[in-house]
C-alpha cells in the first residue's frame, strides 16, 4: 500500500515503513540506543529527503524510547536519578556542541568530519566492548568469579550521591562530564547519542548493564523530543505521516526488544551491541574507502549543508 507523505513529498510503501520501524524498535528496546544511526541511512535509501529523515526519525525515537522506558520501569531497571544527572549534562553538552558544529560548518567539510567522527568512535567503542565482553563470557564459562569493582580516583571526588537502582555511591562529577561529552558529540554527529552513552555508562560509571538500557532510553526521550521541536519550528521537516508509520512499528518493537533483553545475560547483550556498532562502523568506513557507483549527489535547495 503506497502512502503519499505530505512533508517529504514522496510516495512510499506503508508496510515497508512499519517493518523498518519494528526492527529498529527491537534494537532500541534491547540495547537502549535510539536507533537513529541505523534508521537515517535506511530512510535515505528508500528515497526520503535527508532533512526530513533526520527530523522525523527524532520524533519516532521519542515514541519507541518512551515505549521502551515504560517496559523497563515495570522491571525497575531505570535509574531515574542517574538519568536526570546525565540529562542535565547532556543538555549543556548539546548547547556547546551546536556552537562547535556551527563553527565547523563555517570552515566547510563538516560532513566529512562527522563521518570520520562516526568511524573513529564506533570503531573504538565497538572494538573495546567486543574484546571486554568476549573476555567476560570466557570467564563465566570457566566459572571464575567476576572481577571486583575497582576503587579508583573516581571514588575520591566530592559531591557524592547515592544511585540506589544502579547500586552506586559516587560523585556526580563523572556522570555530568559523561553527559556533557556525549551531548557535544550527539549535537555534532546529529544523533541521540545512545550508542555512545550506553558504553560510557557501563565502562566509565560502572553501572550494571541491565539498568543502563532503561536509563539511556530515559534520557534519549528528552533529547529527541527537544530535537523534534527544534526541527519542526526551524526547518519544517518533521513529517508526521512518516513518523506515525515508523512509530507504530517502533513502539511494538521496543516492547519486544525489552522482553528479549531481560532474558539475556549482560555480557551477551554487550557483545551483540558491540557487533552491531562494529557493523555500522565498517559500513561507514567502506563508504569512505570504496569507489562510489555515482560520484554526483543532488540536494534540493540552494543552501544545503
Amino acid at each position: 500500500m503506497q502512502i503519499y507523505l505530505p512533508i517529504a513529498e514522496v510516495s512510499v510503501n506503508a508496510f515497508l515503513l512499519l517493518g523498518l520501524g519494528g526492527i529498529v524498535g527491537i534494537l532500541s528496546g534491547m540495547f537502549g540506543v535510539g536507533g537513529g544511526f541505523l534508521m537515517t541511512p535506511l530512510l535515505f535509501f528508500i528515497g526520503i529527503p535527508p532533512a526530513v529523515a533526520v527530523a522525523t526519525e527524532a520524533n519516532q525515537i521519542v515514541a519507541s524510547s518512551f515505549s521502551g522506558v515504560l517496559a523497563h520501569l515495570r522491571r525497575k531497571t531505570v535509574d531515574l536519578r542517574m538519568g536526570t544527572v546525565l540529562l542535565v549534562g547532556g543538555l549543556i553538552g548539546a548547547a556547546i556542541g551546536v556552537v562547535i558544529f556551527n563553527y565547523l560548518k563555517s570552515l566547510g567539510q563538516v560532513d566529512l568530519l562527522v563521518k570520520l567522527c562516526y568511524v573513529v568512535f564506533l570503531g573504538v567503542i565497538g572494538g573495546m566492548m567486543f574484546v571486554e565482553s568476549l573476555r567476560a563470557i570466557r570467564r563465566t564459562r570457566r566459572g571464575a568469579p567476576p572481577a571486583r569493582k575497582k576503587h579508583g580516583w573516581v571514588h575520591g571526588l566530592p559531591f557524592k550521591m547515592r544511585f540506589r537502582t544502579s547500586g552506586l555511591y559516587i560523585s556526580v562529577i563523572p556522570p555530568v562530564l559523561v553527559g556533557v561529552s556525549v551531548g557535544i558529540l550527539a549535537a555534532i554527529m546529529g544523533v541521540g547519542g545512545g550508542f555512545i552513552m550506553v558504553p560510557a555508562m557501563i565502562y566509565l560509571l560502572g553501572m550494571p548493564t541491565k539498568v543502563v538500557v532503561g536509563t539511556s532510553l530515559f534520557q534519549i526521550i528528552f533529547v529527541t523530543a527537544f530535537t523534534t521541536l527544534l526541527h519542526a519550528t526551524t526547518n519544517y521537516t518533521v513529517d508526521v505521516a512518516l513518523a506515525v508509520l515508523l512509530l507504530v512499528g517502533g513502539v511494538i518493537g521496543a516492547q519486544i526488544g525489552a522482553m528479549i533483553g531481560t532474558r539475556m545475560k549482560a555480557e551477551q547483550l554487550r557483545i551483540l551491541l558491540a557487533i552491531m556498532v562494529l557493523a555500522v562502523c565498517s559500513k561507514l568506513a567502506l563508504d569512505l574507502l570504496l569507489t562510489p557507483s555515482e560520484l554526483y549527489s543532488i540536494a534540493s535547495g540552494a543552501g544545503g549543508h
Binding site: 503506497q2 513529498e9 518512551f66 517496559a71 521541536l229 519542526a232 518533521v238 508526521v240 512509530l247 569507489t291
Partner: protein, 251 residues
C-alpha cells in the same frame, strides 16, 4: 446568414495557417494520502483553413513541474577516502519534466528553436553562473539529468505522440507518485522542418487535498503546535503499546 458571418469573421482574422486546439483528460491532479501517480492524456487537433501542405508537421509536447534551485555535489578521492569536493548550484531545475514527440527530438526541432523555447531536458534547466563554480559545470548538469531520469522525474519520450492524418494528435504523460505541489505548465509545439509554426500553453494544477493539505498547512503556519502534536502522538503511541503489551502478558 450566420454561416456568412462566421466566414467573414474568419476571413477578417490575420491568416494563421495552422493552429493547435487542445484538450486534457484532466487539468487538476489531487494528491491524496494514497496518491500513486497519475496519467494525463493530452490530445488535440490542428486547425487549418488551407489544405494540408506537403511537408509534414510534427508535434512536441512538454510538461514541467515547478522549478527549484538544486545543489549538485561531486565526490573525489582525497587522502584515500571519498569526499564531496566540488559543488555546483543550479538556479532552477524543474522537479518534473517530460518531453513527448512524434519523432526523434533533434529531427523535429532545430537547435535554435530548442534554445528559444527551452524544450529539451538540458535546456529546461537554468544554470546561469554554474560555469564559475567548477571547470566542468556541464558535467554536473548531466549528472542531475542522469539521476533524475533514473527516478523517472525526467522523461524523454520520443515517438510517443500519435499523429493521425496530420490533424489529430494524442499522448499520455505519466506523472510519478513523488510529485511536488504546484502548477505544471504543459506546452504543445507544432513544428515543420524543425521550425515552430504554432504553440499553445496551458497548466495542470497539482495540489494536495484533505489530510495532506491540512498537515502541510499546519506545519508551515503553526510549526510549534505541529511539533507538539507530533510529540503527543509519539508519547501516546509509546504508552499505548506499553499498556497493550501489559494486558497481553496478563491475559
Amino acid at each position: 446568414m450566420l454561416r456568412l458571418a462566421i466566414l467573414l469573421s474568419l476571413l477578417a482574422l490575420p491568416l494563421k495557417a495552422e493552429e493547435v486546439v487542445l484538450g486534457l483528460s484532466r487539468d487538476k491532479v489531487a494528491i491524496t494520502a494514497t496518491f500513486e501517480g497519475s496519467e494525463i492524456l493530452i490530445f488535440g487537433a490542428v486547425k487549418r483553413e488551407a489544405p494540408i501542405p506537403d511537408i509534414p508537421l510534427d508535434v512536441v509536447i512538454t510538461v514541467a513541474g515547478p522549478s527549484l534551485p538544486v545543489t549538485v555535489r561531486r565526490k573525489d578521492r582525497r587522502f584515500g577516502i571519498w569526499v564531496n569536493t566540488d559543488t555546483v548550484r543550479l538556479d532552477a531545475a524543474p522537479t518534473f519534466y517530460a518531453v513527448a514527440t512524434t519523432g526523434p527530438l533533434d529531427m523535429v526541432l532545430s537547435a535554435t528553436e530548442d534554445l528559444r523555447h527551452r524544450v529539451s531536458i538540458p535546456r529546461a534547466i537554468r544554470s546561469v553562473g554554474a560555469a564559475s563554480m567548477a571547470e566542468d559545470a556541464e558535467r554536473f548538469t548531466e549528472a542531475l539529468i542522469r539521476i533524475r531520469r533514473e527516478q523517472d522525474a525526467y522523461q524523454l519520450r520520443e515517438n510517443t505522440v500519435s499523429f493521425d492524418e496530420q490533424t489529430l494528435f494524442r499522448t499520455a504523460i505519466s506523472l510519478p507518485a513523488n510529485l511536488t505541489e504546484g502548477t505544471y505548465p504543459a506546452r504543445i509545439f507544432l513544428t515543420r522542418e524543425g521550425r515552430v509554426v504554432s504553440r499553445l500553453e496551458t497548466v495542470i494544477d497539482v495540489h494536495k487535498v484533505g489530510l495532506e493539505r491540512w498537515l502541510f498547512t499546519l506545519s508551515r503556519e503553526k510549526p510549534l503546535l505541529y511539533g507538539l502534536m507530533s510529540l503527543a502522538i509519539a508519547i501516546a503511541a509509546g504508552w499505548g503499546a506499553s499498556a497493550a503489551f501489559q494486558v497481553l502478558r496478563r491475559g
